[in-house]
């Protein structure tokens, strides 16, 4: 499956990222440069940068992997990832930019004047940031081990180190350049091979239907090398050639497996004839293509309650985006609230365009690379599909291209997360926000998730990301929405609500990640906590705020004016004191 162009492509994209970082470094001099690029970024650059930052390993690799494994139900992931920006546009984008806050903790303090709520926000920014960084690094490890056969820790370390150094050296100004370019790299990397794949699929005798009653089967004679001990299930009798230990016995030659559970030891090499049914790894659901292509076939984890799982997922992704720390910080680089809206509109277009493609990879992957259902590495479908389906020089070149795109995805998302987590750490925990504090914070912020990523493994990239969304939706979404629109919010209400939503969702996430499975309703409620944790957080914030209504900040009227007054009104008389004073327009009355 490896292509000679993969390694050069990955090296090229990494060097390119570093070079852009160095280029930006020449302009990064003050703290303000480091944190928000001095707010000089134009909406078009900003939209590319936001999209470039947002399209992570989960989008580039994970969505296709989930589609291949679970089918129509997981189409809600990319839809939710996109619609989250719509919720953000409708409820927070412009007011948040007008608030003039740098980070989420800044907003909390500016609106509520509470050091305690600020500290709590800081803790959740760091938690969500790390929760989101771990799957990025894991994705990098998966990519390198898939395309080059490198050990898993290597990819995670390479991305972790490159990003940490880049962020520590260049800050965010350089990151804006890097992110903007990386959106276009990712789009190219996913859509060019997709075009070839579609043409190939149309031209070739179609290797089977995706809606028929049959289970996935190998389109051609396929050799699979099993890298880790695997418990698999066989649904239909299958005959293949094996070299290795199967069901505890050394086998060299033809093997016939009857339906039921089987065991494959590490390093076994299996060769399946064309048309053989694909044994599936433990955990991969038994789905014939007809069921796979239909909704509500049983999303992973939510087993008997797929409808609940889907609604919870919708809630988490639609409302979680606005609470992701690395997403919000981008909005401060818009010149004003109107630009923030325009930027978001462009972002929605760019994301919508990108998300047309991962689904295609997932569907075609089921036809051309079903062996991933056996090895369990469905997250790698985008990486292996071009080489497997197209073959030859074209396939190899395209395999290099998607690998470069995947690396662009890890580098950009982890850069954005790291900038934000270190910004918050530098101003609120380690020091007072000097450039030196920022660099020290970047090191700390980068090392922790790297260590975590090397420890845990075996989780679906998109699902871990979905959990980060659930925590974000249960904490910052209510804080932002109520803070922007409701005068009655008090610091006590916000604090208790943050704590309630955050602790409940984080506990559910932790239980899921640690692998406990309760089955039935408890299992469904814990794997997709958003449906109950988000309303709880809102409710607690409102009720506690009503109970403490005497403590509504005295200047709430002024704050509301600042959040909502259009710039046309303020352009002339407003004076801003702060890190980058807005100059009154020349010729103002």
């Amino acid at each position: 499956m490896s292509s000679p162009y993969t390694l050069p492509a990955i090296v090229l994209i990494t060097v390119f990222t570093l070079a852009l970082g160095a280029f930006g470094y020449r302009f990064s001099r003050t703290t303000s440069d480091f944190l928000v690029a001095s707010r000089t970024v134009s909406p078009r650059w900003n939209a590319s940068a936001i999209s470039g930052e947002y399209l992570s390993a989960a989008s580039f690799l994970g969505v296709a992997g989930l589609v291949m494994k679970f089918g129509a139900d997981v189409l809600w992931y990319p839809v939710g990832f996109t619609a989250g920006y719509l919720a953000m546009l409708l409820f927070v984008a412009a007011p948040l930019r007008r608030s003039g806050a740098y980070t989420l903790p800044d907003f909390a303090e500016l609106r509520l004047h509470s050091a305690a709520v600020r500290r709590m926000s800081t803790a959740f920014v760091v938690l969500i940031g790390w929760l989101y960084l771990v799957p990025q690094l894991q994705g990098a490890g998966l990519t390198l081990s898939t395309v080059l056969g490198a050990p898993g820790w290597l990819g995670a370390s390479v991305v972790g180190v490159v990003v940490t150094v880049n962020v520590a050296v260049g800050g965010m100004r350089s990151i804006t350049f890097v992110q903007a370019f990386q959106y276009w790299i990712k789009l190219t990397a996913i859509c060019v091979p997709a075009a070839f794949l579609l043409l190939h699929w149309q031209a070739a005798r179609q290797p089977g239907s995706l809606t028929g009653p049959e289970l996935p089967s190998f389109p051609d004679r396929t050799t699979v090398r099993v890298r880790a001990d695997a418990a698999v299930t066989v649904d239909e009798p299958v005959t293949f050639t094996a070299h290795g230990v199967l069901d505890g016995q050394r086998r060299d030659g033809q093997v016939r497996w009857s339906p039921g559970p089987h065991q494959i030891d590490r390093d076994a090499v299996l060769t399946f004839p064309a048309g053989a049914p694909v044994p599936r790894l433990h955990g991969v659901p038994k789905l014939d293509n007809a069921t796979w292509s239909q909704p509500l076939s049983g999303l992973s984890g939510t087993g008997q309650h797929p409808l609940f799982g889907i609604y919870s997922l919708i809630l988490a992704t639609f409302l979680g985006t606005m609470g992701l720390p690395h997403v919000l910080v981008r909005f401060y680089t818009n010149p004003d609230g109107r630009a923030a809206r325009k930027t978001t509109l462009v972002v929605l277009g760019l994301l919508g365009l990108f998300y047309l493609f991962p689904t295609l990879y997932g569907a075609l992957g089921r036809l051309y690379t079903p062996q991933l259902l056996l090895t369990g590495r469905t997250d790698a479908v985008v990486l292996v599909l071009p080489g497997a389906a197209l073959g030859g020089l074209v396939g190899q070149l395209l395999a290099g291209l998607v690998a470069a795109g995947a690396f662009a995805a890890f580098l950009s998302t982890s850069s954005g997360l790291l900038v934000n987590v270190s910004g918050v750490l530098a101003t609120d925990v380690l020091g007072r926000g000097s450039v030196r504090d920022f660099r020290r914070a970047a090191l700390l912020a980068g090392v922790v998730p790297l260590v975590l990523a090397l420890q845990v493994s075996g989780l679906d990239v998109s699902q871990v990301v979905g959990l980060a969304f659930a925590v974000a939706a249960s904490t910052f979404c209510p804080l932002l929405v109520l803070g922007v629109w409701w005068r009655g919010l008090t610091a006590v209400g916000a604090g208790v609500g943050l704590l309630a939503g955050g602790v409940l969702s984080a506990a559910a996430v932790l239980i899921t990640v640690l692998g406990a499975d309760f089955g039935g309703w408890p299992g469904a409620l814990l794997t997709e906590p958003a449906a109950w944790s988000v309303p709880t957080a809102f409710l607690v914030m409102v009720v506690v705020s009503r109970l403490t209504r005497g403590r509504v900040p005295a200047d709430v009227g002024r704050t509301m004016l600042r959040l909502h007054a259009p710039e046309t009104l303020r352009s002339r008389p407003v004076r801003v004191a702060g890190p980058d004073p807005v100059q009154p327009a020349p010729g103002a009355p």
Binding site: T30, T31, S32, L35, A72, W76, V79, T82, A83, L86, L89, L90, A94, G100, A101, D106, E109, L110, R118, T211, S293, Q294, P295, L296, L307, I310, Y311, I314, R338, R341, K342, T344, L345, L348, G349, L351, G352, L356, T427, G433, W485, G557, M560, L561, R562, H564, A565, P566, T568, L569, R570, R572, P573, V574, R575, V576, G578, P579, P581, P589
Partner: protein, 130 residues
């Protein structure tokens, strides 16, 4: 005039940006603008009106989105036949969620940006006229 004059840096503590709608030549500017800047009750009413209009707009458009996306899962459960219909070679769930969802989202966003700016425009005109 209580205008903070010192430009802080990012290294000073959190409340970094203070926006005060006040300028030197207040007397020449329209009454409503002064009302708002000076946080009088009239100004308060004007700002509340703007906020209510913007919130109503956001809520209305999010109801459109909720109606479109929120009903799909239920529809697929209650009327399973719908999900098997093929349009342009694609089954309905794949067409709706894989392709059409994105133009819908962008369309709603486009409408919002236009309408929200119109609200602000009207507010600014109201303020400058009176």
């Amino acid at each position: 005039m209580d205008i903070p004059t010192r430009a802080g840096t990012a290294s000073t503590q959190p409340r970094r940006v203070r926006v005060v709608l006040a300028g030197r030549r207040q007397a020449r500017r329209p009454l409503a603008r002064r009302e708002i800047e000076e946080q009088t009750q009239v100004g308060e009413v004007l700002v509340r009106g703007l906020i209510r209009a913007q919130l109503a707009l956001a809520v209305r458009l999010s109801l459109v989105v909720v109606a479109f996306f929120g009903l799909l899962p239920v529809l697929f459960v209650l009327v399973p036949g719908v999900a098997r219909i093929r349009v342009a070679g694609l089954e309905v769930p794949w067409l709706l969620l894989g392709v059409l969802a994105y133009p819908v989202v962008v369309g709603v966003a486009w409408a919002y940006v236009r309408l929200a700016e119109r609200n602000e425009q009207e507010f600014a005109e109201l303020v400058d006229r009176s």
